[in-house]
């Protein structure tokens, strides 16, 4: 772990204007290259009444940019053997490029064009809005997607940026215009508050020169950060939505959580591994699937963002079984808050969490994701080197105490979506 070139230690390169640039050595011998631009341009910043704007700007940025129309850009990427990907959250937008190590220069140029000069061609916008509408309808009608949307609505109060999935609805989509997208992009895709993470082979002077060439002169205007209203006290609530005709009911139990920078995060992380975050050995998987045979998948997840987040535990189950699954999931969440995790059980998930770090170094893409997480959450460059020590310091009682905050029962909700009045499944 003391190797100065390990991908687990990031190397701050400095700034290009106010754009923060961070380099990560690629895993030894890796044949690929990756880079990601992160900017505070998530859907929490969507103009009121035009929800969906942030997602569309992000999607269209990688569609046609700079001198390249949609088809030319796609062909250029194919010829380089690379790909562009986007990701949006309430807080931020990301654009990533990945491809062969020997094509890093054209790939970096494509990334810069996507970040700085998206074209927002009218035909392209019309297509993207059609695709957005389809996703909006799917969110209303598919049990898994609907359950996710409903849990956000139940957990977060009105005007909270985490309350939405960022898709908007038919009305908001109809108000989105090219001018609005251009304006959002101009305000939010600059250097201020943004980062560039590059995972490249050692000896990156040429890469640094190219970064300066392609990313100099970006907008330096700072924008107001996301406003997060306080979450008022509220008793747990229950939401049941019947979507007849489907086969499976989706059960979610969820509540607000903390950001990764919170002091109790490490203990909460291990608590989540115990609850359902570690597949196959977690309590939810063992009790809901292995002991009771009630579901194929049962798990939990901590969605930690920069300023806060949410926790969610759940399972997909049959129309004749969901009433048994709900108390099991709710009971496991409560047990985590109320009882100390036995040392053996904690030891297993702790050693697992420490031991799995090398698995994140199998490829450039996987190592790059570790780096982007560190940068996104504002953690120190050696975060992954110090993480094992932090986990080893956690005791059973720490997990119980942290669970009260990380798995906050205030404003929590149980959401059940699917064929509640009966489906094609039969009891056994």
């Amino acid at each position: 772990m003391s190797d100065p070139a390990t991908p687990l230690r990031l190397e701050p390169v400095g700034r290009v204007g106010s754009l923060e640039v961070v380099r990560q050595p690629a895993p030894e011998g890796a044949p690929t290259f990756a880079a990601t631009y992160l900017t505070p341009a998530g859907w929490g910043f969507d103009p009121k009444g035009r929800e969906g704007t942030a997602r569309l700007v992000n999607q269209l940025a990688v569609s046609a940019a700079g001198p390249w129309g949609r088809i030319e850009l796609a062909r250029r990427l194919d010829r380089a053997g690379g790909s562009l990907q986007v990701d949006t959250s309430p807080e931020a937008a990301e654009i990533s490029v990945w491809g062969p190590r020997d094509a890093w220069e054209p790939l970096l140029e494509i990334l810069a064009a996507s970040v700085r000069r998206p074209r927002f061609d009218p035909d392209d916008l019309a297509r993207a809005i059609r695709q957005l509408r389809e996703r909006q309808l799917r969110e209303r009608n598919h049990p898994g997607s609907r359950a996710h949307a409903e849990l956000l609505r139940a957990v977060f109060p009105e005007a909270h940026p985490y309350r939405s999935s960022g898709l908007g609805d038919g009305r908001s989509a109809s108000r989105i215009s090219r001018a609005g997208l251009v304006e959002f992009h101009r305000e939010r895709y600059g250097a201020a508050g943004a980062q560039l993470v590059v995972t490249a082979a050692a000896g990156g002077t040429a890469v640094e020169r190219a970064i300066r060439k392609h990313f100099s002169g970006m907008s330096e205007t700072s924008r107001a950060p996301l406003r997060l209203p306080a979450i008022p006290r509220a008793a747990p609530r229950r939401v049941e939505i019947d979507l007849p005709g489907h086969s499976q009911v989706e059960v979610r139990v969820a509540g607000p959580s903390v950001p990764q920078s919170a002091p109790e995060y490490a203990a909460g992380y291990l608590g989540n591994q115990v609850l359902g975050g570690r597949p196959l050995i977690s309590r939810l998987f063992q009790n809901v699937r292995e002991q009771s045979g009630l579901a194929y998948g049962a798990s939990s997840h901590l969605e930690t963002l920069r300023r806060g987040g949410w926790w969610v535990a759940g399972a997909g189950t049959g129309a004749d079984r969901w009433t048994k699954v709900v108390p099991l999931v709710e009971g496991e969440v409560a047990r985590l808050r109320e009882e100390s995790v036995p040392p053996d059980e904690l030891g297993t998930v702790r050693e697992s969490a420490i031991g799995e770090i090398p698995l994140g170094l199998e490829s450039t893409a996987e190592a790059h994701q570790l780096a982007v997480d560190v940068v996104y959450h504002g953690m120190p460059p050696d975060f992954w080197l110090t993480w094992p020590g932090r986990l080893r310091a956690i005791r059973s009682d720490d997990v119980r105490r942290a669970a009260g905050t990380v798995f906050d029962p205030n404003h929590s909700a149980t959401v059940v979506v699917g064929p509640l009045s009966g489906g094609p499944s039969r009891a056994r």
Partner: protein, 438 residues
Amino acid sequence: MVPSPSARPRVRSFRLANGLRVLLAPDAASPTASVWVWYGVGSKNEHPGITGASHWVEHMLFQGSPRYGKGQMDRAVIRVGGELNAFTDTDYTAYFSTVPREHVGVPLDIEADRMTRALLLDPEVERERTVIYSEREGNENSPEFRVSEEILELAFRIHPYRWDALGYRADIEHLSPQQLREYYHRYYGTRNAVLVVAGGFEPDGMERTVRERFSPLPAGGDDVTVAAVEPTPNGERRAELSGPGTTPYLEMAWRSPALRDPATPSTLVLDAVLGGEVPMFSALSMRRGAEHPASRLYRALVDPGLAVRAGSSWHPQEYPGLFSIAALAAPGVALDRIEARIDRELARIQRTGPTPVEMDDARTKFRRGAALAYEGASRTGFRLGYFATVAPDGFEQRLLAAITRVSARDVRDRARELFRPEARIVVRYTPRGTAADE
């Protein structure tokens, strides 16, 4: 164009006296080691009454063996930071564990223990029944799965590719523990398996370890040949489905060549030109689900606003399978219009074939994808095991070389052979009871 060799690693291969084939792909720089066991058993080995048996047996191999009680395999791998899972397809079942390199002995011990001695106890089989059922229900929530099952039913009358690897609902209800044990003992074993170890280890030591652990296993495991030959279709087959959902969906399919057929290279290029994907030669990372705006179907359907998603799909199998085209309608667009537009596009490629630019782009995609496809121990284990199971003996390299020799005329001719109207299957899905969003 000079074909670029794939980045296939150096492999040490040998066969044990009990028939087990072993591939070792050491990479001194790798922080992980990945252990894969591929069995030549899948839904092709089943028949009505026991459909889903391969998949169910896959689940049961996590439920206990002589040295690992229920849950202990998972715990042993996960507590050292590893991950493990398995999957079942038509032609194979594969188990994998990737662990930090110093713990490679853990999954090797597990695989040796469950290769011939998994317990498949009655209570565990019964408890797993509802789990399998639940897995199926999760898939059924997707209209695409329902359509895909209907396509298989229409395309195959006698061949076991007729059912999905999950099996029919009725068979999941009625398969008995004894039937599953018989199935396991017949098809699982050293003669019908390939063991792959990839990643950070020293090859001589690993060969010794593998010989010590796996040589004592008795020889066993049938590798059967499917005798059923699906008759040539003599007319279009069509179905209309309806159910929950939001968006009309259409899938068309045609009978396609088997993986080792000489027509495979040109069919792969045809798929790349129409849909943009090159699934057999991709790095499998950060690419899945990507849009392909330069592909024919995207330009014909998504660009003009007929569909929000469109593409082709071909996953070559051991026996002749299906080449399919699917489209998700844009809001307000009738499936008839989409179907007509697909017909026009297919007529066009049968008339003029791909352009030189399309051919060059397709070859580049294959070449670029192949060069990156072996990045990391897990991908290496997957890829070596896949080809060793379904098409061994250097097939991958020969296929890649053959792809670079495919001409535009070959692709045009392939399209003419493939897209015969009398061989077409069409399934259309119309959602009902769609909730409005306002």
